[in-house]
């Protein structure tokens, strides 16, 4: 009899389960953000419980952010996006999924942390790679993913271009020649940041990996600090990681409050600390101070200053037949 009651209770529990709905969020994010959001979510769940008394689960989806944006437009019900590129959120704006003034929703243009394209070389830096100009040397093999399929690599391309623009005084022909040389040194174009990491680390292809600083730190931690060395170039490009509530989905699912709490948590001291622990540079001064030794000084330029904004970058560099395609075509 007791067993019967237990079984009955279990069945009732199963049926009643969805009724007192648990809060649920889906976060669509970029390829190499698995670790940081794994840690963020683990910290956010108890915090949310304390704040609201409600249980919540946060599911993650990771892929190239263009793919994520496309998936959302085609029906992936992500409540929030945490991307590494403004252009991909703009695509959601254009399709009516995110409100136009999303950058005003959260502090710092809705970018809770930032990073920059940085270098990872093999132990001892055998090829003596120090800065962008070393990447154009004939004896250096460079690994980064395909800028056409990876936001990560788009930053790499832009950072190399920004360096060349300074070095050659905006001489377009020379800039193009320099960037072409760098691209000629890439033996494998993977489709995403993580795949490029695998090529460099596991397959032992190439002399230098260029990826977000956050990823170079993660690799060194994961595979042993003695196997790789991080190199910070003299100048790099500010890579903001924008976040937004996907209004259309949040309104439909009634998850706006939870989504807001979640993205807000990224700015809390706790969230900022986790981000910094995972190699991201953060705005919170106390946290930034505490992690100061981890992040060497570097001069950062912005897409706005160097290239006149993302729209221009898109049409002049990444569109079909634009500069990047010409660089591929010149090979």
């Amino acid at each position: 009899m007791k067993r019967l009651i237990l079984a009955g209770a279990a069945v009732a529990g199963l049926i009643a389960g969805p009724a007192h709905a648990q809060d649920k969020l889906l976060n669509a994010s970029y390829d190499i953000a698995r670790e940081v959001f794994g840690a963020i979510n683990a910290a956010f769940v108890p915090q949310y419980k304390t704040d609201t008394g409600r249980d919540i689960t946060v599911d993650q989806s990771h892929a190239g952010t263009s793919k994520q944006a496309r998936a959302i437009v085609e029906g992936l019900e992500a409540d929030v996006v945490t991307f590494n590129q403004i252009t991909d959120i703009d695509f959601l704006v254009k399709n009516g999924f995110v409100s136009e003034d999303w950058q005003a929703d959260f502090p710092n243009n809705s970018s809770p942390w930032y990073s920059l394209p940085s270098f990872l070389v093999r132990a001892g830096n055998p090829k003596n790679i120090k800065d962008w100009n070393d990447l154009a040397r004939d004896d250096v093999k460079v690994i980064f993913p395909n800028p056409k399929t990876s936001g990560n690599a788009r930053y790499t391309y832009l950072a190399a271009t920004a360096y060349a623009k300074e070095a050659f005084n905006n001489d377009d022909a020379k800039v193009k020649e320099f960037v072409t040389k760098v691209f000629d040194n890439v033996p494998v174009f993977d489709t995403g940041g993580r795949a490029a990491t695998t090529t460099f680390v596991e397959r032992e292809v190439g002399d230098v990996l260029i990826t977000f600083e956050a990823e170079t730190r993660g690799i060194a931690k994961e595979f042993g600090e003695d196997k790789f060395e991080r190199v910070t170039p003299s100048v790099s490009l500010l890579a903001e990681f924008p976040v937004a509530i996907v209004d259309k989905v949040a309104d439909k699912k009634g998850s706006r409050d939870a989504a807001k709490a979640y993205l807000g948590f990224l700015y809390s001291p706790q969230g900022q600390k986790i981000a910094a622990e995972n190699g991201n540079r953060v705005q919170d001064e106390a946290v930034a101070d505490a992690f100061k030794d981890q992040f060497p000084d570097v001069r950062l330029v912005t897409v706005e200053d160097v290239f006149g904004g993302w729209d221009k970058v898109q049409s002049e560099h990444f569109a079909s037949g634009a500069l990047l395609d010409q660089i591929y075509g010149d090979r």
């Binding site: 395909n146 494998v188 397959r203 032992e204 591929y328």
Partner: protein
């Protein structure tokens, strides 16, 4: 004279079949064509004839030809061994042949890359010979071979099983050499099945994506396959260009399958006639 029908009711079975074909096969392909057709003919031609697209066709088709040629020889030999010989573990080998059907192609791609990379088991053995497989067209061929092998084995196997060894024995007693028996007795009988296997294997290789992108270097003009180029266009939110490039693959595969069907139908008619 009415034939006995195994399936119930012509209307029901026809209805289900047409429904299936329309919704599962024709609709997605129709959507693809529709998307591509929303481009004007000039834009369409500009996209599908761009140097980079043409280079990707060359890479894809040449690698698919290489892989299919390899599978033609190796797949037929494998089918032959599985049918004609009894050895311990035969059933296991027989089952393993189907594995590429079941294995997610991305898993196959990653496994092959791990094996053939400079520091992998095969890659490190091949390196002293000056052969690099991973990140070269050779890698694409290897991935295509892996994913399309079952097609040839599985189409040839049943025909071989039905092949009466008495035919070969008769030829032997009449003084036919091994080569002559193979060329003039076995091969003609296998030809329709081989053709079917080859065309399926080739079509599969044309469309393979998951396994290849891991092992190919994905270098434009060198190791960039057509499917990847379509994927890249999608990443640029350029749905039409992606559809245009994909339509080239689709049309190629369709034309080829149609042609082989035609040849097969003719071969069957020929065989029927020679029998009666």
């Amino acid at each position: 004279m009415s034939r006995r029908r195994v399936l119930p009711g012509l209307h029901l079975s026809l209805g289900i079949t047409l429904f299936y074909v329309a919704f599962i096969v024709a609709l997605p392909l129709g959507a693809l064509i529709f998307k591509a057709a929303s481009l004007g003919p000039e834009d369409y031609w500009r996209i599908v004839s761009s140097p980079r697209a043409v280079a990707s066709y060359r890479v894809t088709v040449l690698c698919a030809l290489g892989a299919t040629a390899f599978n033609l020889v190796f797949g037929m030999a494998l089918a032959w061994v599985l049918v004609r010989y009894r050895f311990p573990g035969r059933r296991l080998v027989d089952a393993i042949v189907d594995l590429p059907f079941a294995l997610p192609t991305a898993v196959a791609g990653i496994a092959l890359t791990a094996l053939f990379a400079q520091n992998g088991w095969f890659g490190s053995a091949l390196a002293p010979l000056g052969i690099t497989v991973a990140y070269t067209p050779l890698g694409i061929i290897v991935a295509m071979i892996f994913t399309s092998l079952p097609f040839i084995v599985r189409t040839v196997q049943p025909v071989l099983e039905d092949l009466d060894p008495a035919l070969e024995e008769a030829a032997q007693t009449l003084g036919g050499s091994d080569g002559a028996i193979f060329m003039r007795i076995i091969l003609p009988l296998l030809a329709p099945a081989l053709l079917a296997g080859v065309s399926l294997s080739f079509a599969r290789s044309l469309g393979e994506f998951g396994a290849i992108i891991f092992i190919a270097g994905n270098q434009p003009f060198e190791t960039e396959i057509t499917a990847l180029l379509a994927f890249i266009r999608l990443e640029e939110y350029d749905y039409q260009a992606a559809a245009a490039i994909a339509s080239v693959l689709l049309i190629t595969a369709f034309v080829m399958l149609a042609v082989t069907n035609l040849i097969q139908a003719r071969a069957l008619r020929y065989m029927d006639r020679s029998r009666s």
